[in-house]
């Protein structure tokens, strides 16, 4: 096989796979982006940056958390939300995963010539509602317009700022043997909903994105267990990617019990037909929690008492040989690895 197998040839241009959340994207980030910008805060590669001091000043009672995100979802409007709901939820959730109380957001808009003003109004209404629900304010913004062609109508960028209270530390290096792995609800809802909407698949039952801000849910979990070791939201690349990142980052083994993974039947059906695995599908309203083993019951109770955590489940444990393994529904054992790029629908 000529070119593809030659390890000396590097990718000469960006491919769609570079944005998929899989190993290709990780490589781009590590070898091209972080490599150019290196600093200790960035290199921690958590969902938000933690700044113990700001220009030499310490905050009272906590540390500053900062995150940024861009939103390029297509279609702009989908069952369960729109690009606006996503922008606020996604950014708030990155802060929440560091245990931060979200405070405010910035909002950059890049609109494409020809975008209906009504569409923009709808998106802004969603942003306003979601921000209100999440208890944050949009405090700064920017607006640009580009010529027709190529950005799908609207692209949003945000920065989020929050405060991590003293005593809370959500960090990959805290994950250790004996930890329980908990997910706050059903897997794969968002990406499956987007896929169905984008491909115009006609189903009997509508699949909605789970897009939602998780500040309140996370606060409930942290109240039940302030020693929570790590929170992550399984967005692009799904639960599987989070598990692989954590196993790799913390140098631990994680075993997942496939039968205990919560998945909506309609999501499972669509994934089966297309040949996708829900464990790799993005969620936008779920959290993965790594908590001390003996705190699992308390955390589950707290999550299930919250409207966004009713289907929370214990799905695995940390321990054993480094890497991620799955105990399959029929009792087999096999590894779980990061995908190279996006899943592709199968042929037959």
């Amino acid at each position: 096989m000529a070119t593809s197998g030659d390890p000396r040839k590097t990718d000469e241009s960006i491919r769609l796979g570079h944005g998929s959340g899989g190993a290709l994207m990780h490589e781009l980030i590590e070898t091209v982006i972080v490599d150019a910008l290196a600093n200790p805060v960035l290199e921690a590669m958590e969902d938000a940056a933690e700044l113990p001091t700001v220009g030499g000043h310490r905050l009272e009672g906590g540390r500053l958390a900062v995150t940024t995100d861009s939103y390029v979802v297509q279609p702009l409007f989908f069952p369960g939300g729109d690009i606006g709901t996503l922008a606020v939820s996604g950014t708030v959730n990155d802060l929440a995963m560091k245990g931060a109380r979200p405070v405010c957001l910035t909002l950059g808009l890049v609109a494409e010539e020809g975008l209906a003003l009504d569409a923009l109004r709808r998106v802004l209404a969603s942003i306003a509602t979601t921000a209100r629900d999440a208890g944050v304010a949009v405090v700064a913004g920017d607006t640009k317009v580009v010529e027709r062609g190529g950005i799908g109508g609207l692209v949003l960028n945000t920065a989020g700022i929050g405060v991590i209270p003293d005593g809370v530390r959500s960090s990959c290096d805290r994950v250790q043997d004996g930890d329980a792995v908990i997910v706050s609800g059903t897997l794969g809802d968002h990406e499956t909903a987007i896929l169905v909407a984008r491909e115009g698949l006609k189903l009997e039952q509508e699949i909605a994105s789970d897009c939602a801000p998780l500040g309140g849910l996370v606060a409930a979990a942290l109240e039940a267990c302030p020693e929570t070791h790590l929170l992550r939201d399984p967005t692009r690349g799904g639960l599987a990617t989070v598990l692989c990142e954590v196993a790799d980052g913390a140098g631990v083994g994680i075993t997942i019990d496939e039968a205990s993974l919560p998945v909506r039947p309609e999501v499972r059906s669509v994934c089966e037909i297309l040949g996708f695995d829900p464990v790799y599908m993005a969620n936008e309203g779920k959290a993965v929690l790594f908590v001390p083993g003996d705190a699992a019951d308390d955390v589950l109770e707290a999550l299930r008492a919250h409207p966004l955590g009713r289907e929370a489940a214990l799905v695995g444990r940390v321990g054993g040989r480094p890497g991620v393994a799955v105990r399959t529904v029929v009792g087999g054992l096999r590894p779980l690895v990061m995908l190279e790029a996006a899943q592709l629908p199968r042929i037959c």
Partner: protein, 374 residues
Amino acid sequence: MTAGPLDPEAFRSERAARAIVERIRGLATAPAALMEVCGTHTVAISRFGLRSLLPERLRLLSGPGCPVCVTPVGEIDRAIAIARLPDTIVATFGDMMRVPGSESSLERERARGADVRIVYSPLDALEIAAEEPGREIVFLGVGFETTSPTVAATIARADREGLRNVSVLPFFKRIPPALRKLAAVPDRSLDGFICPGHVSVVLGSDAYRSIARDDGLPCVVTGFEPLDILWGIFLLLRQANDVRAGGRAKVEIQYRRAVTREGNPAALAMLDDVFEICDAEWRGIGEIPESGYAIAEPYRNLDAGPRFDVELPPPADDGPCICGEIMLGEKLPDDCPSFGTACTPRSPLGPCMVSSEGSCAAFYRYERGRRDRR
């Protein structure tokens, strides 16, 4: 939730799986090798960790069941050459995007500006053709008998509607001739075929009668849930033991809820109307007589092969890739010295590592380190 006959959870019960595995262990008293020829089986076996449940002396081999994997380099090169033409759109199932040709891949061509679109259904190609009257749409007809009837129907519709700007590259392959070729390998150590579930929905289980009768190999048409596969394996071992004791091989249907002996007459009629059987080359294996479909009259004008005159690069050889031996069941992916080292999904040496239903990709994803885990 009560388990009904169509409740998928019923086909994944761990207790039932244990019971079937016990019976398999009871039958697997001698080494045996069973081969599947369907990418979905390849993935299901690995994904559910079935090899970790079964005795080591029972080998599950993966045959040429991935239609993408058996598409010869020359056909990929032709698709790429057509993609490079101006005002041309190539519509393809997703898996074909990453398969390496001699010099490039469809994915790379798209990154360089070619209009290559992933579709879920061949009918999408007709929609694109209607939306883009000034451009040529070429659909890559890759697949086995699960897929070829739908493409045949698409070709028939394109003809009825008089669409002039759409055509198909007929890269289809037929499973039964491949099974006969595998059965005829001298000194083969094969004890039975796990026959493909959905191909058989179209063909009917009688399509495999000659393999049981003339080649003496047990055939069981099997579904895709873990219990389906385990039960299919049980039925094959039962037959294999019977054959060893002097009995006769037969074709059985495990996948009774979907497969009949006669198959789907409408699909078979469609294949008969639009295609004619021809010899075809399978990557890594070579030519198998009567194993392909060419587009027949009066639909021949929809064949993209003669419609586009393109220059092809000299076909690259496979180098260290042993996909051919793997697809013939002579080796398993982790027997290959390049597996996981020089050959990974990121830098694949061959198609079996690229396609999500390829044996090497399935092993890389689900079975790495299995020998250490035993």
